[in-house]
Structure formats: C-alpha cells, structure tokens
C-alpha cells in the first residue's frame, strides 16, 4: 500500500459561541475565540489517500482528480467564507479545528473512489492541528 498526500490552503473566518451558554460562560470557555465579530485563519489541509498503484498508470489515483475533488468539496465551500454562517455542514457545531476536520473527512470520504481516504490533517495555524483517521485503521486496530 502506498500513501499519497495532497495539500491545499484556504482562508476562512469563524468564532466560537454556544447559544446555550451565558455571555460570561462563552467568554470564560472560548476566550478571544468568542469575540463577537469573529476572526480568521489560513488553514492548511493535508489529505492522504491509501491504495495500490495501478499497474498501467503507476498511480494510486490521478492527482488531478484529487485536486478537482478538493477544489469542489473544500475550496468552493470554505475558501474566503465565514464558517459559522456560510458552511451548512457545520451548522449547530462549534467550528473548532477538530470539528472542521471531521466535516472535511465526511465530505471527502465518499468522493474518493480510487484508493481510500486514509488521513486528514487540518492545520488552523502552524501550531494547532487536528488529525482524522478511520477508527480501527492501522496499528490502532491491531488489538
């Protein structure tokens, strides 16, 4: 099995606010991420697909195809958007890095039909990221 990874970058704004919490609780739990008008990040998304290279083309999947999937599913939905207001897949959820990574996994997993989605890593900043794997994949499943 071979892993191939494609990286894309998008920029979006968000804020953390739970309407079930009081203003004070929101401030205490979310800190500056609760500032009312939101703020933004340059996100970096790394998408890793696992598979066997096709004997004729030598490819797990055509990177052009993966690039088009990422453009359609991620860039068009999220780039230069406000995650709280413009991305329905996140509605009712706090748009944390870990929630957004799961949303991205669920958007991409059914679209990747050559090879299999193996790993999604979403950087909200160079020092903060979330990883998604299929539960039971790899060593974690060998118990």
């Amino acid at each position: 099995m071979v892993l191939i990874t494609r990286k894309i970058e998008f920029s979006a704004s968000h804020l953390y606010h739970n309407p079930n919490f009081s203003a004070e609780e929101n401030r205490r739990i979310f800190g500056k991420c609760n500032n009312p008008h939101g703020h933004g990040h340059n996100y970096t998304l790394e998408v890793t697909v696992a598979g066997e290279p096709d004997p004729v083309t030598g490819m797990v999947l055509d990177l052009k195809e993966l690039k088009e999937i990422l453009e359609r599913e991620v860039m068009q939905r999220m780039d230069h958007r406000h995650l709280n207001y413009e991305v329905p897949e996140l509605s009712g959820q706090i748009p944390t890095c870990e929630n957004l990574a799961q949303v991205l996994w669920r958007l991409l997993d059914p679209k990747i039909t050559r090879g299999k989605l193996h790993h999604v890593r979403l950087y909200e900043s160079p020092d903060l990221f979330a990883d998604c794997y299929r539960n039971g994949a790899g060593m974690a499943g060998k118990q």
Binding site: Y16, N18, N20, F21, I29, F30, G31, Q93, I94, P95, T96, C97, E98, N99, A101, Q102, W105, H118, H119, R121, P126, D127, L128, F129, A130, D131, C132, Y133, R134, N135, G136, A137, G138, M139, A140, G141, K142, Q143
Partner: protein
Amino acid sequence: MNNALKVELGRRYRFSASHRLHTAHLSEEENFRVFGKCNNPYGHGHNYVVEVSVSGDADPATGMIANLADLDAFVARQVLEDFDHKSLNEDIPAFRDTVPTTENVCIEIFQRLKSFPKAKLERIRVEETGKNSFEYAGENLEGNRP
C-alpha cells in the same frame, strides 16, 4: 457517529535548552567516538519543538477534544517551565543518569504529560532541529500512527 472516526488534536510547543551526550558507562574516548561533537565538554543547545497529540470525542457543547487553555497550561507546568532555557543534563532529574538524547527527551515528556486529565495522550513528537524528529507513543503501539 464519532465511533467511525478517530480524531486527534495536535499542538506544537517550543523550548530552548542545552544538553551534552555523555555516559559514565563509557570511557572518554568511547564517549567521543559514539557521540562525536555532541560530547563536547560544555554542551550545546537546540530550539526544540514538541508536538503533543491527544484524542477523545469532541464535547458537543464546545466542539473541543480538550480546551487549549487547559492543554497549554498543563504542558507549561509539566514540561516547558522545567525545560525552557535550562540544561537538560543538570536541571532535569531524569537525565542525571540517562543520556538526554531526543529519544529520551520524547519518553520523559510523554511520562510527564500522560496524566493530562481532559483527553488521552496519544503521542509525543519532538524536533531537535528542523532536520530530525522523534516520536514516542508509550509502551503499547495503540497510540502509534495508523
């Protein structure tokens, strides 16, 4: 729904410290042969990067596996305050008798962080320089990368 996916939160921290690779189990010549310039008598330093990965279900109310304020405070208290701008050999008790290679730094940091109460510690990855890095996921392989 969360059972289908394993989600980890990763956070990078930095500290600067000095160390010297030297063991009392070897002669001066053997130390120099094994450790090379890392054995120079007065030590040298690095800007270390520590990557901490924790896992768990995101709390539906906050969307968080762990509140970063909690994780940052825990890592600062357990690791950074002791390690930053220190000599690993002289200032960290674990390295009095153990060579402070980055392999051992990984293990020591894992031991110091595994009691994080808000989420499960999966893995520690330490970059000694931009060109080398080390990972430790505890004694069993469960926390290793899929």
